[in-house]
Symmetry: C2
Subunit: 221 residues, 2 copies
DNA sequence: CGACGCGTTGAATGTTGTCAAACCGAGTGG
DNA sequence: CCACTCGGTTTGACAACATTCAACGCGTCG
C-alpha cells in the first residue's frame, strides 16, 4: 500500500492530485464508529492499519455483519446509492483510516480515466465479494463457512506480507457467527472440532493453521 | 422506462448522446445466454422485457443463482472488476435487452457528471441488494425467505405498473431454491403451507397474493 | 471479592435436507 | 388416439445438522 492508502497504480502527477483530497484522520480506538447508519454519506474510506467491521440493521432490528476490512481495503461504498449511510462501520481494534471525500473523488475522476476505472472496479469487486458470501451462506455447512473465512483472512494477510498461518482474529466469535449466519455456539464448536483434528491451534483470538491443505479440504474449495 | 432502457434522468442532449451508444439486440428466447462465465467483459445490460437470471459457479462446481432481473433493471456489473465475466446471464423466458458497451459508457461518463454519478449509484444499489440477500440468507427461515422474495417481485411489478397481487413467476422452483439457499422440496412445501393458510393461491407459476399483510407478517418485515 | 463479558460445552429440540415415490402436463411416436 | 417419456413439482418418512437453552470456566475491571 502506498502513501495514498489506495492500492492503485497511477502516474506520478496523478498521485499528487489524488493525494491532495485524501484526509488522514486521527487514530480510532476499539469500538469507535467511522460512520453510523443514518449519517450523511460523504466519503469512502481505506484502512491503513487495524481492522474495521461494517454492519447494517435488518428489518427485524437485528445486526447483520456485512464485512471485515483489513489494511489496504476500501469500505463505505454501499452509501453511494443514497444520500445517507445504510450501514455502520466501527473499529474492531485501534485503527487508522484514510477518508476520501466522494464529491472530490467524482470531480477528479472526470479528468483521470484510470481513477474512474479503478473505482468502478473496486465497486465491482465488492459485488463479487458479496456474491461469494451469498454462495457460501447458501450452499455450505458451518465447518465450510468457518474454514473459508479463515482461509480468506490468511490469504489477505499474505498479501500484506504478514504470516498466513499465524494471526490474530480481530473480531469476536459473535461477529464471526453473525457474518457467517451461524450462532456463537456453532462457531465455537467448529473451532473445537478443528483443534481436535489438529487442523488449527486456537488460543482465544490467536489462530495458527497447522494443516493448510486440511483446512482447504474442510472449506471444500 | 424511457427509450434508453435506462431509468435515468438526464438532460435532453445527454439523452441523445447516451442513446447513440446503446444497442438494442434481437429478442432472446428462453434459455438463451446473454453472456457466459469466461466471456470477455464488454457491456452492461438493461432488461427491456422478459426476465433474466444471473448465476455463477462456485468452487465446488455448483450453480449459485445471484439474481433475477425484470424490465428496467440493470445487470452485468459484476464483470467490471475483471476483463472477463465471472457469472452467466440467461433469459428465463422470451426477453429483450439493451446492451451498453462499457468502454463507450466510461468515455461518456467523463463529460457527463450525472451519468457517472448514476452508474456509481447503480453499482452501489447492487451492493445494497446483495447485502440484503446476505442478511436474508443469514438470519431468516425458509418461510421468511420465500415470502420476502414474493414481496420483492410484487413491489417491482408495482413499479412497472403491473399487478402487485397477481403475477407469473418466470423462474422455476429450483431457481428459487438455489437463489434462497433452500432445496426445491423446501420451496415447494413453503408454497403449500402458504396456500393452506390462504395467504397465496398458487397454480404452477401463477401466483396470487390473497393476503398481503399476512405475507408481510410471514416475511417478518 | 463479585459482576460482567466472552467463550466453551452439553443435552434436547427442531427446521431443513435427503431419499424415495408419485403426480401432472406437454410433447412424442407408435 | 393412446401409451410413453420427460421435466418440473409435490408429498412423505427419516436423518442430520444447527439452534436453543442451560450451565460453567476464565479473565478483567470495578
Amino acid at each position: 500500500m502506498n502513501a495514498l492508502c489506495l492500492p492503485i497504480a497511477l502516474e506520478l502527477d496523478e498521485v499528487d492530485r489524488l493525494n491532495e483530497i485524501v484526509r488522514r484522520g486521527r487514530p480510532l480506538h476499539k469500538d469507535d464508529y467511522v460512520y453510523n447508519s443514518g449519517d450523511k454519506f460523504r466519503s469512502v474510506y481505506a484502512v491503513r492499519s487495524g481492522s474495521i467491521k461494517t454492519s447494517s440493521v435488518n428489518d427485524q432490528g437485528l445486526e447483520q455483519v456485512t464485512g471485515f476490512y483489513l489494511p489496504g481495503e476500501i469500505f463505505g461504498m454501499d452509501g453511494i446509492a443514497h444520500t445517507h449511510h445504510l450501514s455502520s462501520a466501527l473499529a474492531l481494534e485501534t485503527a487508522a483510516i484514510c477518508e476520501i471525500p466522494f464529491d472530490r473523488l467524482e470531480e477528479l475522476s472526470m479528468t483521470m480515466p484510470s481513477l474512474q476505472r479503478h473505482f468502478f472496479q473496486l465497486m465491482s469487486k465488492e459485488i463479487n465479494n458479496d456474491q461469494k458470501l451469498i454462495s457460501l451462506l447458501s450452499k455450505n455447512s458451518a465447518e465450510e463457512r468457518v474454514a473459508t473465512l479463515l482461509l480468506s483472512i490468511s490469504a489477505r494477510n499474505a498479501t500484506r506480507n504478514l504470516s498466513n498461518i499465524r494471526f490474530r482474529l480481530p473480531m469476536s466469535r459473535a461477529d464471526i457467527g453473525n457474518y457467517l449466519g451461524l450462532t456463537v455456539e456453532t462457531v465455537s464448536r467448529v473451532f473445537s472440532r478443528f483443534q481436535k483434528q489438529s487442523v488449527l491451534a486456537v488460543d482465544k483470538k490467536e489462530i495458527e493453521i497447522l494443516d493448510v491443505p486440511g483446512l482447504q479440504r474442510l472449506a471444500n474449495t
